[in-house]
């Protein structure tokens, strides 16, 4: 007989198959948006939390969870989204940060420096994911998706995304 906790572990391992559609190297468990898995008579409920309020990927992620768990034989899969406690980039796993960098996106700094309301704050120092130089500058606080800012490296000259302060 499968015990409750191993079943939960099994579900978590299935959830690792589901990628963030906007950053397809990251699974939703790397991203740290799976808050809990609850089993009610073998029917799983997955509690997730959005990264950004307007993140358009959340609907796709919820659909992905239902599809993957259903394909592994679970019935009546439920996905519930909660806002509190608020997701921050601290919830991202170390493994996730490593994968991001490998993919060419600078992972969020361990200590966020500019998350405040002060104008013209100095740019956050971000390491270039390509050549590891710290000589980089911000091009725009808003990037290709809500969770990224646009930077450029002053040494290798490559532009890159930075998974920004949140």
């Amino acid at each position: 007989m499968i015990t409750h906790s191993t079943d939960k572990k099994l579900i978590y391992s299935y959830l690792e198959e589901i990628k963030d559609p906007e950053v397809p190297v990251l699974s939703i468990t790397d991203l740290g948006i799976v808050r809990d898995v609850i089993l009610n008579n073998d029917e799983p409920e997955v509690i997730i939390t959005p990264t950004y309020t307007g993140c358009p990927a959340m609907d796709m992620i919820a659909a992905g969870i239902k599809m993957v768990l259903t394909s592994h034989g679970y019935k009546n899969v439920k996905v519930t989204s909660v806002l509190s406690p608020v997701w921050t980039t601290d919830w991202m796993s170390e493994e996730g940060k490593r994968k991001l960098k490998e993919y060419g996106i600078a992972p969020p700094n361990p200590k966020q420096q500019v998350c405040n309301e002060n104008l013209f704050a100095p740019n956050e120092t971000v390491q270039c994911p390509h050549c590891n130089s710290y000589h980089t500058h911000r091009i725009s606080e808003f990037g290709s998706t809500a969770c990224k800012a646009l930077y450029q490296c002053d040494d290798c000259k490559e532009p890159f995304d930075y998974f920004k302060c949140h």
């Binding site: 309020t53 307007g54 806002l83 608020v86 998350c115 104008l119 725009s140 606080e141 808003f142 809500a146």
Partner: protein, 248 residues
């Protein structure tokens, strides 16, 4: 309960309408990075609107976020008049965003302590995004205000167009007194002084004078709108009106 529903709808409507206005810039921004910035802000605002609508739908019962957004008429919308004002030029759009973000930042700072857990959670989630909007729009107000003669003049025009719509933010609507009393909503009159002080600081750097004795329009929060809202809703609600219950 009804007051809380109306209050939640007011928060939802304001963010939805401003989001719709900002999204009109998509593909038309002055440069690519700024086009991306304003549309990102739109996306954040529509995310906030969805959270508020979903919560309102739960409070109302037997409805959903889409029905509330797509099937109500002008008089049922409770958004701030400021949100529905036309984009004008880039300066006017920037100033509208700055006035609003400065207000919203102060609002969310308090709303995240609301006794209502869901309103508090939405505000706590959104305040970081709001700080981005505030920094971005505030920096632009300064940059344009103390920029060239032309950009300075355009900011003066924008102030002239929009200042009369800022007073409404700080006048509580009938549904706000009950939610303030039960500590679920924020007392907006208390935000007026801090808002004005912040605006004065930014305007000083932007070499713009804060207008005095300007007639203040109001009524949006109670459903009485300027002529612009009807046009916005016509476009926003077109698909659901033309093809009821259509889905992607």
């Amino acid at each position: 309960m009804n007051a809380k529903i109306d209050y939640t709808l007011h928060l939802a409507d304001t963010t939805l309408i401003l989001s719709q206005r900002n999204s009109e810039w998509c593909g038309h921004g002055p440069i690519l990075e700024q086009d991306i910035a304003i549309t990102n802000i739109s996306l954040d605002l529509i995310g906030q609107a969805r959270n508020f609508y979903q919560y309102a739908a739960k409070l109302i019962g037997n409805t959903d976020e889409d029905k509330i957004a797509y099937l109500r008429t002008e008089r049922e919308f409770k958004n701030l008049l400021l949100a529905e004002q036309p984009n004008g030029d880039w300066g006017q759009t920037i100033l509208r965003q700055y006035f609003f973000s400065q207000y919203q930042y102060l609002l969310y700072q308090q709303l995240q302590n609301s006794k209502d857990e869901q309103l508090a959670a939405i505000a706590a989630k959104a305040i970081k995004e709001t700080s981005y909007h505030l920094r971005w729009s505030g920096e632009w107000v300064i940059r344009l205000g103390e920029g060239t003669d032309e950009s300075h003049q355009r900011m003066l025009n924008a102030v002239n167009e929009l200042w009369g719509y800022t007073g409404e933010m700080f006048i509580p609507a009938t549904y706000e007194s009950p939610v303030v009393k039960e500590n679920t909503g924020v007392s907006v009159d208390s935000l007026k002084q801090p808002w004005l002080e912040k605006v004065k600081t930014i305007f000083e750097e932007a070499t713009i004078t804060v207008p005095e004795k300007v007639f203040m329009h109001s009524g949006g929060k109670e459903g009485k709108h300027t002529e612009h809202l009807g046009f916005i809703l016509t476009e926003l609600q077109y698909m659901q009106r033309a093809y009821p219950n259509s889905e992607w």
